[in-house]
């Protein structure tokens, strides 16, 4: 069954699903960091760290600004503070029910539209 997820929340949870990206978030709670500072404790190359930062940027969890040769990253709290995050499970519970209702309604419509059978 296809659930109608919130694409934005999917991005947030996908971004949080990788330990390196969670480590980056933890580092950024200490304030703005450049990419090299983020990469070194992860024992990661600059491009690898940059790739993870891109995923976090995609989920709007991190904002990157370029100052001279530095890529400075900082946390964006809004997606995590959003109340819909903790209500997502409730939403999915109901969406499961409503998807089942969609299927049922299709059947009911087909039955209603079917021509009466001749005896």
């Amino acid at each position: 069954m296809v659930l109608d997820h919130s694409p934005r929340l999917d991005l947030v949870f996908h971004a949080l699903a990788h330990p390196a990206r969670r480590a980056i978030i933890r580092q950024l709670t200490g304030g703005e960091r450049n990419l090299s500072e983020l990469a070194s404790p992860l024992k990661m190359t600059f491009p690898a760290a940059s790739k993870h930062v891109r995923v976090l940027e995609g989920a709007k969890l991190v904002r990157r600004r370029i100052a001279g040769r530095e890529h400075l990253c900082r946390l964006e709290a809004a997606p995590l503070k959003d109340a819909t995050l903790w209500t997502e499970q409730f939403r999915q519970f109901w969406e499961t029910r409503f998807s089942a209702l969609d299927e049922l309604l299709e059947e009911m419509k087909q039955q209603a539209e079917a021509p009466p059978r001749k005896p």
Binding site: D4, L16, R26, T87, F90, E95, D102, L105
Partner: protein, 167 residues
Amino acid sequence: MNAPAKLPALQVSTPTDTTIVLLRSFNAPRKLVWEAMFTPDKMRRWMVPPPQWTQSVCECDARLAGVLNIAWKSAEADPAMTLRGVFTEIVLHERAVHTEVMALGNGQIVGSQVEQHEFSGSGPTTTLRITQTYVSKEARDGALGSGMDEGMEACYALLDGVLAQGW
């Protein structure tokens, strides 16, 4: 066969401290959505029980003072959970309000709320707005947070940690 029109996704909102509003559209006229919502043999199809549970009772009389009586059983308990209520307002195919008391098999009440259903739209699509009103903010928040699985818990624990650091 024509593909059904793409309708907006389910919206959940909390306009006041004690309410939850669910807004969802369906590719069917109001009369059909009403029947699907309130006819027992139809309700069994969409009131998907938790894993390992089955619905053992489903009575619904969507008329003024009509009774709602639903029960689920598990391998351990019959009933494992009951849902009982009374319809307090009915405007056929437009509006239905019923009370709802959820209880465990031993009778312990675990939730009490009022559910208001509003059906709008003319023609082939219907928008259903369900407003759930709880007795307190705590009860409302409990309902919102229920059903959280471990994966979500882990995410929230992480977020709590992050948020605690001064966001």
